[in-house]
Subunit: 240 residues, 2 copies
């Protein structure tokens, strides 16, 4: 499987934005010129630009041109994209993340879990509660349910590292879709115990369902962070 041309083109253009070949607020060469230079059709260039536009690197104005958006002032390294699949280890770095396994069980699913993972009451699920540490400090409390039939042979070795990595590289499955709900909530007893939250520390909670590319729900989980350790970021561009 060779990489699609439009992805290559997108990477080239992205690099040119990063290295300053194309400056913020300045127009790129027009699509036809890029197509000629890069030896592809104009549509392929447009497809690359469409993707970069959705990612927030540039914007287009019909009749005018394509422009580099430039730096986003409120963006920081600290920001977690709310629309990315990579696990914590991939996102922050394998070395920095460790996991305490608080609970690891196989059970029959509750009605809520049945509904969220589209399971029968007789389909077993894993229940995993992990405290994930960032450079040894408590960071996020993850409570995860996964269907056993989709994730065979889960064990403590996997849980100590990255479930995400196991699912992708060992099982060869791909995440396709996610629905995530973000809210603030009060600290529970668990939050106080594991996240070292104080009584009145707000918690930032993310509840999500993740589907594989084949449409099967593979994960229902809740992640809780102390309010002062994380935020989520959403980038929007175009509705369609």
């Amino acid at each position: 499987m060779t990489e699609a041309k439009y992805l290559k083109i997108a990477r080239i253009i992205q690099n040119r934005i990063k290295d300053g070949t194309y400056q913020a607020q300045e127009p790129l060469p027009d699509q036809e010129a890029l197509a000629q230079e890069l030896g592809v059709s104009r549509l392929t260039v447009k497809k690359a630009l469409d993707g970069l536009e959705r990612k927030g690197l540039l914007y287009k104005q019909s009749g005018l041109g394509t422009f580099v958006l430039g730096d986003i002032p409120i963006q920081t390294d600290h920001d977690t994209s709310a629309s990315v699949f990579s696990g914590l280890q991939e996102e922050i770095g394998e070395e920095k993340i460790t996991s305490d396994i608080i609970k690891f069980a196989i059970e029959f699913p509750s009605e809520q879990v049945q509904k969220n993972l589209r399971l029968k009451s007789s389909d077993p699920v894993y229940e995993v509660l992990r405290l994930r540490r960032l450079e040894a400090n408590p960071f996020v409390l993850e409570h995860t349910y996964m269907p056993v039939k989709l994730v065979p042979n889960l064990d403590e070795t996997v849980l100590k590292g990255s479930i995400y990595h196991y699912i992708h590289h060992n099982l060869g499955l791909k995440f396709g879709t996610a629905y995530r709900k973000i809210r603030a909530s009060k600290a529970t007893a668990w939050d106080k115990k594991y996240l070292e939250a104080k009584q009145d520390d707000p918690i930032l909670e993310l509840e999500q369902i993740i589907w594989l590319t084949n449409g099967h729900p593979i994960e229902y989980s809740t992640s809780r962070n102390r309010f002062d350790t994380r935020n989520y970021v959403v980038f929007q561009n175009k509705d369609f």
Copy 2:
């Protein structure tokens, strides 16, 4: 300006999903068949399906077909999409939303606001603090900065209603891009006063910059909700 064909096709397909013509987990007709039936090229059908896929209505599997994702169990009417531009009135209903104007001033921007709105220190900005009520109950405290030069003649009449509506329909400007940061935080004196938050009620905060389609930043704002009145939702599908 006539509507693009792929948008019409998308709406047709979306309606068929909604009315049950295409059932959850079931495949749609293949792209060629849809193209024939609807009298467009296959690429136009694909473009429509791509959009519906990004919106989370369906998923495609190369070699297999296009399938309806079906209901999302954790989704509720209450959910606010974190990737939508419409103002509160458009989203929830004009009748239900009222606004108390707590502060409305024209001033020179602080350094932070200069940076976020890409302004010089001599470019005046509006500062608007509004408590927006949902059926008379305090709902969200919005603190907004906008460049005067982009939004002329803002007045209390506009602020009582929808700034969003004014910008779009009266000024003819279009929002293009938004960067939003969501976090939990502790209640401030303002939150207690206006949102009727208790001392230990968490606050769900959204900080954002919005750009017009021409690349100009038009709004820097912060919205605060009491934790029990709102959540934000992010739907993810495909990275590119």
